[in-house]
Symmetry: C2
Subunit: 160 residues, 2 copies
Protein backbone atom coordinates (compact mmCIF):
# COMPACT_ATOMS: atom_id res chain seq x y z
CA UNK A 1 0.00 0.00 0.00
CA UNK A 2 1.22 3.52 -0.78
CA UNK A 3 1.46 5.72 2.28
CA UNK A 4 -1.78 7.61 2.90
CA UNK A 5 -1.17 11.32 3.14
CA UNK A 6 -2.72 13.12 6.08
CA UNK A 7 -1.98 16.79 6.10
CA UNK A 8 -3.36 19.90 7.68
CA UNK A 9 -4.64 22.77 5.61
CA UNK A 10 -4.51 25.97 7.58
CA UNK A 11 -7.20 28.64 7.30
CA UNK A 12 -7.90 31.80 9.24
CA UNK A 13 -10.23 30.35 11.79
CA UNK A 14 -10.65 26.97 10.21
CA UNK A 15 -8.48 23.92 10.06
CA UNK A 16 -8.95 21.18 7.50
CA UNK A 17 -7.51 17.70 7.30
CA UNK A 18 -7.13 15.84 3.99
CA UNK A 19 -7.16 12.04 4.11
CA UNK A 20 -8.74 8.92 2.64
CA UNK A 21 -12.43 8.19 3.20
CA UNK A 22 -13.20 6.32 6.41
CA UNK A 23 -16.28 4.27 7.13
CA UNK A 24 -17.36 6.74 9.83
CA UNK A 25 -17.57 9.53 7.22
CA UNK A 26 -21.16 8.60 6.41
CA UNK A 27 -22.06 10.29 9.71
CA UNK A 28 -19.96 13.31 8.81
CA UNK A 29 -22.00 14.44 5.82
CA UNK A 30 -20.16 12.59 3.04
CA UNK A 31 -23.34 11.42 1.31
CA UNK A 32 -25.04 14.82 1.65
CA UNK A 33 -21.95 16.37 0.05
CA UNK A 34 -22.23 14.06 -2.97
CA UNK A 35 -25.81 15.31 -3.23
CA UNK A 36 -24.38 18.71 -4.22
CA UNK A 37 -22.87 16.98 -7.30
CA UNK A 38 -25.72 14.78 -8.52
CA UNK A 39 -28.60 12.52 -7.48
CA UNK A 40 -27.62 10.41 -4.49
CA UNK A 41 -30.84 8.69 -3.43
CA UNK A 42 -31.23 7.05 -0.05
CA UNK A 43 -28.21 5.02 1.04
CA UNK A 44 -28.74 2.89 4.14
CA UNK A 45 -25.92 2.26 6.61
CA UNK A 46 -25.74 -1.35 5.37
CA UNK A 47 -25.49 -0.26 1.72
CA UNK A 48 -22.85 2.30 2.61
CA UNK A 49 -20.77 -0.22 4.55
CA UNK A 50 -21.01 -2.82 1.77
CA UNK A 51 -19.98 -0.33 -0.92
CA UNK A 52 -17.17 0.98 1.32
CA UNK A 53 -15.86 -2.57 1.70
CA UNK A 54 -16.12 -3.23 -2.06
CA UNK A 55 -14.14 -0.11 -2.89
CA UNK A 56 -11.63 -0.75 -0.09
CA UNK A 57 -10.96 -4.21 -1.52
CA UNK A 58 -9.24 -2.48 -4.47
CA UNK A 59 -6.68 -0.99 -2.08
CA UNK A 60 -4.62 1.71 -3.76
CA UNK A 61 -6.39 1.13 -7.10
CA UNK A 62 -9.53 3.00 -6.01
CA UNK A 63 -9.02 5.81 -3.53
CA UNK A 64 -11.57 8.30 -2.25
CA UNK A 65 -10.15 11.48 -0.74
CA UNK A 66 -12.01 13.68 1.73
CA UNK A 67 -11.27 16.97 3.46
CA UNK A 68 -12.71 17.25 6.97
CA UNK A 69 -13.35 20.57 8.65
CA UNK A 70 -11.94 19.82 12.06
CA UNK A 71 -13.99 22.01 14.37
CA UNK A 72 -17.33 20.80 12.97
CA UNK A 73 -16.17 17.32 11.96
CA UNK A 74 -17.97 17.75 8.62
CA UNK A 75 -16.71 16.53 5.25
CA UNK A 76 -16.09 19.72 3.28
CA UNK A 77 -14.77 18.28 -0.01
CA UNK A 78 -14.20 14.98 -1.76
CA UNK A 79 -12.95 13.38 -4.96
CA UNK A 80 -11.98 9.88 -6.08
CA UNK A 81 -9.51 8.20 -8.38
CA UNK A 82 -9.40 4.78 -10.04
CA UNK A 83 -6.14 3.35 -11.32
CA UNK A 84 -6.52 1.58 -14.67
CA UNK A 85 -3.97 -1.07 -15.63
CA UNK A 86 -3.25 -1.18 -19.34
CA UNK A 87 -1.06 -3.18 -21.72
CA UNK A 88 -0.06 -0.17 -23.81
CA UNK A 89 2.66 2.29 -22.77
CA UNK A 90 4.81 -0.60 -21.49
CA UNK A 91 1.99 -2.00 -19.37
CA UNK A 92 1.30 1.51 -18.08
CA UNK A 93 -1.31 2.81 -15.69
CA UNK A 94 -3.78 5.68 -16.00
CA UNK A 95 -5.54 7.49 -13.16
CA UNK A 96 -9.21 8.40 -13.64
CA UNK A 97 -10.40 11.19 -11.35
CA UNK A 98 -14.15 11.26 -10.60
CA UNK A 99 -16.74 13.03 -8.46
CA UNK A 100 -14.84 16.07 -7.20
CA UNK A 101 -17.10 18.33 -5.14
CA UNK A 102 -16.65 21.02 -2.49
CA UNK A 103 -19.44 21.85 -0.03
CA UNK A 104 -20.97 25.19 -1.08
CA UNK A 105 -20.37 26.50 2.46
CA UNK A 106 -16.63 25.91 2.13
CA UNK A 107 -15.95 27.21 -1.40
CA UNK A 108 -13.28 29.82 -2.10
CA UNK A 109 -10.74 28.10 0.17
CA UNK A 110 -8.96 26.12 -2.59
CA UNK A 111 -10.20 22.84 -1.15
CA UNK A 112 -11.07 21.51 -4.62
CA UNK A 113 -7.49 22.11 -5.77
CA UNK A 114 -6.20 20.30 -2.65
CA UNK A 115 -8.39 17.30 -3.46
CA UNK A 116 -7.18 17.15 -7.07
CA UNK A 117 -3.55 17.52 -5.96
CA UNK A 118 -4.00 14.69 -3.43
CA UNK A 119 -5.45 12.42 -6.13
CA UNK A 120 -2.77 13.38 -8.68
CA UNK A 121 -0.03 12.75 -6.12
CA UNK A 122 -1.54 9.32 -5.55
CA UNK A 123 -1.49 8.61 -9.31
CA UNK A 124 2.16 9.67 -9.48
CA UNK A 125 3.06 7.43 -6.53
CA UNK A 126 1.29 4.52 -8.24
CA UNK A 127 3.42 4.99 -11.37
CA UNK A 128 0.68 6.31 -13.67
CA UNK A 129 1.91 7.90 -16.90
CA UNK A 130 -1.16 10.16 -17.03
CA UNK A 131 -4.28 11.24 -15.20
CA UNK A 132 -7.62 11.98 -16.83
CA UNK A 133 -10.94 13.45 -15.82
CA UNK A 134 -14.13 14.58 -17.47
CA UNK A 135 -15.86 17.83 -16.62
CA UNK A 136 -18.22 20.46 -17.93
CA UNK A 137 -16.85 23.35 -20.00
CA UNK A 138 -17.63 25.62 -17.00
CA UNK A 139 -15.04 23.78 -14.87
CA UNK A 140 -12.25 23.83 -17.49
CA UNK A 141 -10.50 26.87 -15.98
CA UNK A 142 -10.47 25.29 -12.51
CA UNK A 143 -8.79 22.12 -13.76
CA UNK A 144 -6.31 24.16 -15.79
CA UNK A 145 -5.25 25.77 -12.50
CA UNK A 146 -4.70 22.22 -11.23
CA UNK A 147 -2.27 21.60 -14.10
CA UNK A 148 -4.50 19.66 -16.51
CA UNK A 149 -5.14 20.59 -20.12
CA UNK A 150 -8.18 20.15 -22.35
CA UNK A 151 -7.64 17.20 -24.65
CA UNK A 152 -10.68 15.35 -25.99
CA UNK A 153 -14.40 15.12 -25.53
CA UNK A 154 -16.57 12.98 -23.29
CA UNK A 155 -19.32 10.79 -24.74
CA UNK A 156 -21.92 9.15 -22.52
CA UNK A 157 -24.99 6.98 -22.52
CA UNK A 158 -27.44 6.68 -19.64
CA UNK A 159 -29.22 3.33 -19.42
CA UNK A 160 -32.95 3.24 -18.65
CA UNK B 1 -19.39 -13.70 -12.94
CA UNK B 2 -21.66 -12.40 -15.70
CA UNK B 3 -21.89 -14.73 -18.67
CA UNK B 4 -19.22 -13.97 -21.25
CA UNK B 5 -20.68 -13.41 -24.69
CA UNK B 6 -19.09 -15.32 -27.54
CA UNK B 7 -20.74 -14.65 -30.83
CA UNK B 8 -19.96 -15.00 -34.48
CA UNK B 9 -19.95 -12.00 -36.77
CA UNK B 10 -20.55 -13.08 -40.34
CA UNK B 11 -18.82 -11.45 -43.28
CA UNK B 12 -18.60 -12.24 -46.97
CA UNK B 13 -15.51 -14.35 -46.89
CA UNK B 14 -14.48 -13.63 -43.34
CA UNK B 15 -15.74 -14.87 -40.03
CA UNK B 16 -15.07 -13.05 -36.78
CA UNK B 17 -15.54 -14.13 -33.20
CA UNK B 18 -16.07 -11.62 -30.38
CA UNK B 19 -15.01 -12.65 -26.89
CA UNK B 20 -12.98 -11.66 -23.84
CA UNK B 21 -9.18 -11.37 -24.06
CA UNK B 22 -7.32 -14.63 -23.46
CA UNK B 23 -3.71 -14.98 -22.38
CA UNK B 24 -2.82 -16.58 -25.74
CA UNK B 25 -3.87 -13.40 -27.58
CA UNK B 26 -0.41 -11.92 -27.16
CA UNK B 27 0.65 -14.30 -29.91
CA UNK B 28 -2.32 -13.28 -32.06
CA UNK B 29 -1.29 -9.68 -32.58
CA UNK B 30 -3.09 -8.05 -29.64
CA UNK B 31 -0.12 -5.89 -28.64
CA UNK B 32 0.64 -4.88 -32.24
CA UNK B 33 -3.01 -3.84 -32.59
CA UNK B 34 -2.73 -1.54 -29.54
CA UNK B 35 0.26 -0.03 -31.35
CA UNK B 36 -2.19 1.36 -33.92
CA UNK B 37 -3.76 3.39 -31.07
CA UNK B 38 -0.74 4.73 -29.21
CA UNK B 39 2.78 3.96 -28.01
CA UNK B 40 3.03 0.38 -26.76
CA UNK B 41 6.74 -0.16 -26.13
CA UNK B 42 8.20 -3.61 -25.72
CA UNK B 43 6.12 -5.95 -23.57
CA UNK B 44 7.80 -9.23 -22.65
CA UNK B 45 5.80 -12.43 -22.25
CA UNK B 46 6.35 -12.23 -18.48
CA UNK B 47 5.11 -8.64 -18.32
CA UNK B 48 2.10 -9.52 -20.46
CA UNK B 49 1.20 -12.51 -18.30
CA UNK B 50 1.57 -10.52 -15.08
CA UNK B 51 -0.61 -7.66 -16.35
CA UNK B 52 -3.16 -10.17 -17.72
CA UNK B 53 -3.38 -11.76 -14.26
CA UNK B 54 -3.70 -8.36 -12.55
CA UNK B 55 -6.57 -7.33 -14.81
CA UNK B 56 -8.21 -10.77 -14.58
CA UNK B 57 -8.20 -10.50 -10.78
CA UNK B 58 -10.86 -7.77 -11.14
CA UNK B 59 -13.20 -10.30 -12.77
CA UNK B 60 -16.20 -8.60 -14.36
CA UNK B 61 -15.04 -5.18 -13.12
CA UNK B 62 -12.36 -4.89 -15.82
CA UNK B 63 -13.09 -6.61 -19.10
CA UNK B 64 -11.09 -6.50 -22.33
CA UNK B 65 -13.00 -7.50 -25.45
CA UNK B 66 -11.34 -8.74 -28.64
CA UNK B 67 -12.57 -9.72 -32.08
CA UNK B 68 -10.58 -12.53 -33.70
CA UNK B 69 -10.53 -13.11 -37.46
CA UNK B 70 -10.98 -16.84 -37.51
CA UNK B 71 -9.16 -17.88 -40.67
CA UNK B 72 -5.98 -15.99 -39.77
CA UNK B 73 -6.35 -16.23 -35.98
CA UNK B 74 -5.43 -12.54 -35.73
CA UNK B 75 -6.96 -10.05 -33.29
CA UNK B 76 -8.79 -7.57 -35.52
CA UNK B 77 -10.30 -5.23 -32.92
CA UNK B 78 -10.32 -4.57 -29.20
CA UNK B 79 -11.70 -2.33 -26.47
CA UNK B 80 -11.89 -2.42 -22.67
CA UNK B 81 -14.23 -1.37 -19.90
CA UNK B 82 -13.75 -0.72 -16.19
CA UNK B 83 -16.70 -0.75 -13.83
CA UNK B 84 -16.53 2.00 -11.22
CA UNK B 85 -18.43 1.56 -7.96
CA UNK B 86 -19.81 4.79 -6.57
CA UNK B 87 -21.81 5.91 -3.54
CA UNK B 88 -23.96 8.35 -5.49
CA UNK B 89 -27.00 7.28 -7.57
CA UNK B 90 -27.99 4.78 -4.85
CA UNK B 91 -24.53 3.22 -4.76
CA UNK B 92 -24.56 3.08 -8.56
CA UNK B 93 -21.97 1.89 -11.03
CA UNK B 94 -20.46 3.55 -14.09
CA UNK B 95 -18.72 1.84 -17.00
CA UNK B 96 -15.61 3.49 -18.42
CA UNK B 97 -14.76 2.38 -21.97
CA UNK B 98 -11.11 2.70 -23.00
CA UNK B 99 -8.72 1.84 -25.82
CA UNK B 100 -11.07 0.94 -28.66
CA UNK B 101 -9.13 0.19 -31.85
CA UNK B 102 -9.75 -1.71 -35.09
CA UNK B 103 -6.85 -3.06 -37.16
CA UNK B 104 -6.51 -0.84 -40.24
CA UNK B 105 -6.73 -3.96 -42.45
CA UNK B 106 -10.16 -4.79 -41.04
CA UNK B 107 -11.82 -1.39 -41.02
CA UNK B 108 -15.19 -0.77 -42.70
CA UNK B 109 -16.67 -3.98 -41.30
CA UNK B 110 -18.37 -2.39 -38.28
CA UNK B 111 -16.05 -4.24 -35.90
CA UNK B 112 -15.56 -1.10 -33.77
CA UNK B 113 -19.33 -0.85 -33.27
CA UNK B 114 -19.43 -4.54 -32.30
CA UNK B 115 -16.73 -3.96 -29.68
CA UNK B 116 -18.55 -0.95 -28.19
CA UNK B 117 -21.86 -2.87 -28.15
CA UNK B 118 -20.17 -5.82 -26.39
CA UNK B 119 -18.74 -3.49 -23.74
CA UNK B 120 -22.02 -1.59 -23.31
CA UNK B 121 -23.93 -4.87 -22.97
CA UNK B 122 -21.48 -5.84 -20.26
CA UNK B 123 -22.09 -2.55 -18.43
CA UNK B 124 -25.84 -3.10 -18.63
CA UNK B 125 -25.50 -6.65 -17.28
CA UNK B 126 -23.40 -5.32 -14.41
CA UNK B 127 -26.14 -2.85 -13.46
CA UNK B 128 -24.37 0.35 -14.50
CA UNK B 129 -26.60 3.42 -14.74
CA UNK B 130 -24.34 4.94 -17.42
CA UNK B 131 -21.32 4.34 -19.61
CA UNK B 132 -18.69 6.94 -20.45
CA UNK B 133 -15.75 7.26 -22.79
CA UNK B 134 -13.37 9.93 -23.96
CA UNK B 135 -12.44 10.40 -27.60
CA UNK B 136 -11.18 12.93 -30.11
CA UNK B 137 -13.64 15.21 -31.88
CA UNK B 138 -12.94 13.20 -35.07
CA UNK B 139 -14.46 10.07 -33.51
CA UNK B 140 -17.61 11.78 -32.21
CA UNK B 141 -19.79 10.66 -35.14
CA UNK B 142 -18.70 7.03 -34.73
CA UNK B 143 -19.68 6.96 -31.06
CA UNK B 144 -22.98 8.70 -31.83
CA UNK B 145 -23.74 5.76 -34.14
CA UNK B 146 -23.07 3.53 -31.12
CA UNK B 147 -25.77 5.41 -29.19
CA UNK B 148 -23.62 7.74 -27.07
CA UNK B 149 -23.98 11.49 -26.94
CA UNK B 150 -21.43 14.27 -26.46
CA UNK B 151 -21.60 15.52 -22.89
CA UNK B 152 -18.52 17.12 -21.38
CA UNK B 153 -14.84 17.62 -22.03
CA UNK B 154 -11.79 15.56 -21.16
CA UNK B 155 -8.91 17.10 -19.22
CA UNK B 156 -5.57 15.32 -18.89
CA UNK B 157 -2.10 15.59 -17.49
CA UNK B 158 0.85 13.48 -18.58
CA UNK B 159 3.48 12.92 -15.90
CA UNK B 160 7.16 13.17 -16.79
Amino acid sequence: MAEATNSDIGGENQSFKIRRLEISDKRKGFIELLGQLTVVGSVTDEEFDRRFDEISSYGDDHVICVIEEESSGRIAATGSVMIEKKFLRNCGKTGHIEDVVVDSRFRGKHLGKKVVEFLMDHCRSMGCYKVLLDCSVENKAFYEKCGLIHKGIQMSKYFD
